[in-house]
């Protein structure tokens, strides 16, 4: 029974430990800040963050206790498409970078086409058509009708 439960329990444990570490780090960082020291402690900009970090600490301790005592209450979810997700994230980062140099109407159809290809779409007319149509529609709606700036 132990070997069945421990990997799962470990996940909940790690989560609580993560938050514990985070809240400790924040607590220390906030308590040490001295700017804004010209005002009373109650008015210091670091009081509220300190309180929140303390709450987080208490919550993570409670979570830790629970993880150690009871069993987990849900199975870990599998991650079947790791490579795909990573690729999409990379593509989005590239898209953002591209937008610093290229206008929206050029970068977007390229991004859309590439993303559709990544997701497994294979019909070229659909890829092209959708990319251009969506870009055009967005341009019309945002830039012309609503006069909102596009990147």
């Amino acid at each position: 029974m132990n070997s069945q439960i421990s990997p799962l329990k470990r996940r909940e444990l790690w989560e609580s430990l993560f938050f514990l570490a985070l809240s400790l780090a924040l607590l220390i960082a906030f308590a040490l800040r001295r700017d804004g020291a010209a005002v009373a402690w109650a008015l210091s900009p670091w009081l509220f963050p300190l309180l929140i970090a303390a709450l987080l600490f208490a919550l993570s301790v409670a979570g830790l206790c629970r993880a150690l005592r009871c069993g987990p209450d849900s199975a870990p979810r599998p991650l079947p498409h790791r490579a795909l997700t990573a690729a999409v994230c990379a593509l989005c980062a590239l898209y953002t970078l591209a937008l610093t140099a290229l206008p929206f109407v050029l970068a977007t159809p390229v991004f859309l086409s590439l993303m559709l290809l990544l997701l497994g779409e294979r019909r070229p007319w659909l890829i092209l058509g959708l990319s251009v149509a969506v870009t055009a529609a967005l341009y019309l709606v945002f830039a012309l009708a609503l006069r909102v700036r596009l990147p």
Binding site: L106, V110, P124, L128, R149
Partner: protein, 338 residues
Amino acid sequence: MKKLAALLLALALLLSLGACAAKDAPYPSRSLTIIVPYSAGGSCDIVTRQFAALLERELGQSVTVLNQGGSSGTIGIQACLDAPADGYTLVMTADSLGTLRVMDLSDSLSYRDFTPICAVTSDPKVIVVAQDSPYEDLQQLLDDMRARPGRVKMSCTGPGGSGHIQSLILNALGCDMALTAYPGGSDCLLAVLNGSVDFTNANYSTVIDYLQAGTMRCLTVCGPERLAAMPDVPALPELCPEAADYLRFPFTPFVLQVSADVDEATVETLRAAARRALADEGWNENLAATCQDKLYEQYPLPEDVTGFLAGYESLVSWMLYDAGAAAHSPADFDIPRP
């Protein structure tokens, strides 16, 4: 794939042709944007929108007002500098640009990064109390502040804001009050109305209705002279002559500016259009009714505006630094003492 490449190439060609065509046309050949570095609904926003409508008529191109508020105006101001310096992006600056560097809100933003087109208006600052306040006139308020330092409560909009600066002036007159910061001008008024604080220093145009309805009373005008709309309300220098030295500058100056990199010809076109817009009758009547200072009459020439902004920056930066409210010394930025 080939089809995609061809389509993209065609698109690119079309767009670049369009861009070239736009560049050769005389200024202004497309719509302009005025950035308001504060949130919508504030006095800067309102003045800018009214002015933008007049400017639109004179320039013949549409003028859009864009709100990019936050961080005491740094975000909007930086956005204007980040935009291409072709004269199509302007910004309406207020008081905060003078103190961004000493208040550590920006490393380098200052009035020197911009060329002023024209100074527009300034909202007079007045001290108001609630209807049922025990203070009947200004002298009672000042005496109470001197008698009970740190006990009379005032609301203001945060460090470096115009309310804070007004409080520093009062401090220089020997009056110490307890300041509480609120997010915006209207919240400061709310605090006075519900009795949380004893008084506040507000922009006149925001309190006109309260004064008329009687829910608020005005004790004094923090400026060199009385306002035409309130002939019985004394100006601060009448009771405290030392204040005259501080109050020689308008404290909420709205100035329309462009990036300093824009060429002279474009700037001149804008200035001429602005001058014509400011001559509009309806605009002037409106300003007279709300007792706004017409800065374009006080500082008509560009050199006047630059001189005024430099003087203002120097006065306010040193005031903030001497009071311990500023992170950096104005001397670090070569700002001379007033």
